[in-house]
Symmetry: C2
Subunit: 403 residues, 2 copies
């Protein structure tokens, strides 16, 4: 497996575009994106568990009932959520795109991200859809920009891998910066692959993957109303269709996981206001749920996040977050270390503080990618969660998001 | 019932002191407090549910096994948690105080608050305990100051009420500013009363009260390792001892609730970095757990907290927090309003946005006490949660707490 260029256009038969259509006032910001497959693709999707759901999710769920799709359209600037007529508007968007591209509306995935509760007009879509059609090409980055909200960095990735001697490719784009605390589903992530795989196995791969990837990311503890991860697999790589959990399925899962972990790290590191990516790695847990619960609790702790912003090795806050996580752990066996490119510093052994150099700790924590290493010494299960520090800019961005 | 002066010294037979003993470097900051009852008192206590627990909690639990106590000693500046020999030190503290005051060590409640994981020395206690004894008097405010950490305001209250024609008094002090997200127990709160009541009924009153008071407060979602609420009732008011859940018990519960709600509001409004007290009032819930879950979820939402800091009527974040709360609510029935001294503005009806004046909303949200009013239109249960806005200063305080 190797990293390649091309993002969501890396896999055979996929093209994309991102343009400005007027949903946002700022004309220099692309606000709508299209991803298109030359042939109908197997499609799998996971959605937010928030009871308040964006209108596009209901439409997408209906369209994916048959496990296939050929295009994804997504706008930023307005979440099309908690407003009047949002579902009809999402349907109309698909119909407009279907007419423009000669597709069936039911083969289109629709998604939105932005402010909740605003009325939404179909007019910008009437402008944008022909523009998207015209611009369609090898434009993964433009599509990635089209779905960004408070994101400051593009999030795209692609890898190539082999199945039965056939080169397969899988790539993805993501948006996600605030309101990030996925639960069973996640922020907006679109993934394309030319690997041949049945819709059922594709869904199985995706649902299995997210438990240890997107569901282990938290920026601010707020689960969005519009989260969605969608994978299209058009089979153009020419491998034998994956129909069971064989070695080819394992190879596909591994490639998928490479893409999703990359995007998780990008999303967490670009959390609203973030200056640091935090990775909490828990090892020695008695079982996987314990490892996940502990990792997620630490990555969500506002106090730990603020300490990391200040490069302060205040490990007591890590212990505190483990203690209230709800996981049954033996506090007196916990070891904690901080690590980064600058080195590693052990700060707690068997639940008690140990002497360490504040100078070295400061150097370790002043890097922009920090590992919080926790060993529970109670088994062999492990888990990683991704998050970011809590900064002045998070408050600034969210104290006045709408204006 | 009426509000009176005197805090924890308001009730007959109680005195208090707060002095500097050297746990903190800053000599102008009192860092140890003593609360003393002339006679042995019924004692009830609730503790943090964090698995990581401060050493003093274990000692206090043992000392309160018989349901009685006569004094409370509490230091700030060091949590005496996750260090070596913490429990022995807490025991020695009680023994020193017992010797100084002619008490039994097992009649003393001991508590600590401050940084987790620091070694702690007995030396400052040897200095402080005689000073506390000497200073003992009508000094509720000094004791309240002695237990403060990042608190910016004293938190004390007292009320008088009648049982069987006898005047009873109940008063309390509290500390709590960060690491505030109580779960079954809470931050440090000490309450004294001269009401005569059995230890069993006192515990019942306290345990019943906190579910709707301290457990409904959140500053930052972090449940402390050292939370404790302790009530001493010395019976000096002369009322017939409350031994069952009669009218006298109800009168006591009501007075206790007045004290605890007051302290909840003070703690939330003085949350680390806070500029505003937030009260989330949920009505029309189908049952009490639903009302509590919704209120707590909204008050904990970082995005809602940041919007309130910016006086931004971004009600979509309130809907979002209701949606991911885990409570089974009908999203299409939810009404949301914001209110304050400046008026009320309705922003959402039946789960959809309604037109409102941004100007009026700004005025309402620019006050320092904001009500977030949620009606679920699904029953008659209600609940209130208290919190505060998320500000630059929260990040500042917690980015560098130890130094």
């Amino acid at each position: 497996m190797k990293m390649i260029e091309g993002g969501i256009c890396a896999a055979k038969g996929f093209s994309a575009a991102g343009v400005h259509c007027g949903i946002r006032k700022n004309k220099t910001k692309r606000d709508i994106a299209l991803i298109y497959s030359e042939t109908k693709a197997a499609a799998a999707c996971v959605y937010t568990t928030n009871l308040v759901k964006g209108a596009p999710l209901a439409v997408t769920k209906r369209h994916l009932a048959d496990g296939t799709a050929q295009a994804i359209i997504c706008n930023s600037g307005n979440a099309n959520t908690c407003n009047t007529g949002g579902e009809a508007l999402a349907e109309e968007t698909c119909e407009l795109l279907a007419a423009e591209m000669g597709l069936k509306a039911s083969d289109i995935v629709v998604a939105s991200t932005g402010v909740i509760g605003l009325p939404m007009s179909i007019e910008p879509f009437k402008v944008g859809i022909p523009l998207l059609h015209q611009a369609l090409g090898d434009h993964s980055a433009e599509a990635a920009e089209g779905i960004m909200t408070t994101d400051t960095r593009l999030k795209e990735v692609a890898v190539s891998f082999e199945i039965d001697g056939k080169e397969c490719r899988i790539g993805g784009i993501a948006k996600g910066s605030g309101m990030i605390h996925p639960n069973m589903a996640t922020m907006l992530v679109f993934i394309t692959t030319d690997c041949a795989i049945t819709p059922a196995l594709l869904q199985k791969a995706l649902s299995g993957d997210i438990a240890d990837t997107f569901n282990m990311v938290s920026v601010d503890g707020d689960t969005s109303t519009n989260d969605m991860v969608c994978v299209l697999a058009n089979g153009m790589a020419g491998n034998a269709v994956i129909e069971e959990e064989n070695d080819a399925f394992k190879a596909f899962m591994k490639a998928l996981n490479t893409v999703t972990v990359y995007l998780c790290r990008r999303i967490a590191g670009d959390g609203e206001g973030a200056t640091k990516l935090l990775e909490c790695k828990v090892d020695g847990a008695k079982d996987l749920p314990t490892a996940r619960t502990v990792a997620k609790s630490v990555i969500c702790s506002s106090l730990t996040k603020a300490a990391m912003f200040g490069a302060d090795a205040n490990w007591g806050r890590v212990l505190c977050a483990i203690g209230y996580s709800g996981a049954a752990v033996d506090v007196n066996r916990i070891d904690v270390s901080f690590a980064s490119r600058a080195g590693q510093v052990d700060v707690c052994r068997n639940g008690e503080g140990i002497d360490f150099s504040e100078e070295i700790a400061k150097a370790v924590l002043s890097e922009d990618e920090i590992e919080i290493l926790i060993h529970l010494n109670d088994g062999s299960a492990c888990s990683t969660a991704w998050g970011c520090d809590l900064t002045y800019d998070y408050v600034k961005i969210n104290g006045d998001y709408r204006t």
